[in-house]
């Protein structure tokens, strides 16, 4: 087994793990009770998920420049998601006073009958 094989396997493993966290984030959006709690699932799970995917892709990068670019993509997405999260949370809080129960979109009532 060559070093390239190990690297490829590790890369796939990291990407798969990242996908799991994306899945967890989406599950959170479906299962959590209110808008602000759902934001938690999205920001944190996707931060780690994308981080792992980026790390996996870095292992396949051709040169240092590409590694740098991937890192930059991760940071920019984090920045955007954190800012968006703050803006959504702030406007939700202003509109509803306290923790709102209305979902922005997608299924909510029907997926919650499992509890």
């Amino acid at each position: 087994m060559s070093g390239d094989d190990v690297r490829g396997a590790l890369s796939l493993l990291l990407i798969a793990a990242g996908m799991l966290f994306f899945l967890a984030g989406s599950v959170g959006v479906l299962r959590l009770p209110d808008l602000l709690s759902r934001l938690h699932a999205l920001t944190k799970a996707d931060n780690l998920g994308l981080g792992l995917v980026v790390l996996g892709l870095m292992l396949q990068a051709d040169d240092a420049f590409e590694v740098l670019r991937l890192l930059l993509v991760w940071l920019l997405v984090l920045f955007a998601s954190s800012v968006a999260c703050y803006l959504v949370a702030r406007s939700a809080l202003r509109a509803h006073g306290d923790a709102p129960t209305a979902a922005p979109e997608g299924p909510d009532e029907d997926t919650r009958d499992g509890r």
């Binding site: 938690h40 780690l48 703050y86 949370a89 939700a92």
Partner: protein, 186 residues
């Protein structure tokens, strides 16, 4: 560099020293252009999008408000902050994944007030707000001059301690000193 020519038709406020404002804008433009260069991979044709994007970012930055007061980065603090950020990102992701995949989601959402220890007007506050949403179980819902309103996924967890740790790391990054280590945590 191309982006700089977009600056000239928009002189700064007459009262401010125009020279430093221009120098600042040039530095920001160069930084943004570098960012684009890295992202686009040096493809010459990409500047068709890149130049307008840099110009738009510059104009937006002007509109957002006064530039932050002078600040400096502490290299050792920055390294420790990066390590802290990676560690907390992992904790945050694993924590929330575990909570939502339990048979019954383990959440007890609630709002927590947290009093600022970072000085007003410091760029550290913005960084704190950005990062707090990535910390395990916390999310910034509002911020004013005196405090931040935190939404906690589990309000029974020791949220204030986590936030204090983040605040200390942000302060170290900017080589700031925080007042009253423990007293302000409540």
């Amino acid at each position: 560099m191309q982006p700089t020519q977009h600056l000239d038709p928009h002189p700064g406020k007459p009262a401010t020293p125009v020279k430093t404002a221009t120098a600042r804008a040039l530095a920001v433009a160069a930084l943004l252009a570098l960012l684009w260069f890295v992202l686009a991979g040096g493809d010459a044709a990409s500047w068709i999008v890149g130049v307008p994007a840099v110009a738009a970012a510059l104009l937006l930055a002007r509109r957002v408000g006064a530039p932050p007061p002078a600040w400096r980065l502490d290299p050792a603090g920055a390294l420790r902050f990066a390590a802290f950020f990676v560690r907390e990102s992992m904790r945050g992701g694993i924590d929330v994944a575990g909570r939502v995949s339990a048979r019954r989601p383990r959440v007890a959402p609630g709002l927590v007030h947290y009093r600022w220890r970072l000085p007003a007007g410091s760029p550290g506050r913005a960084l704190f707000v950005l990062c707090a949403s990535l910390l395990p179980g916390t999310l910034v819902a509002a911020a004013d001059d005196h405090e931040v309103l935190i939404h906690a996924l589990d309000a029974t967890a020791p949220v204030a301690g986590e936030l204090a740790a983040l605040e200390e790391h942000v302060a170290a990054l900017f080589a700031l000193r925080l007042p009253a280590p423990e007293a302000a945590g409540a």
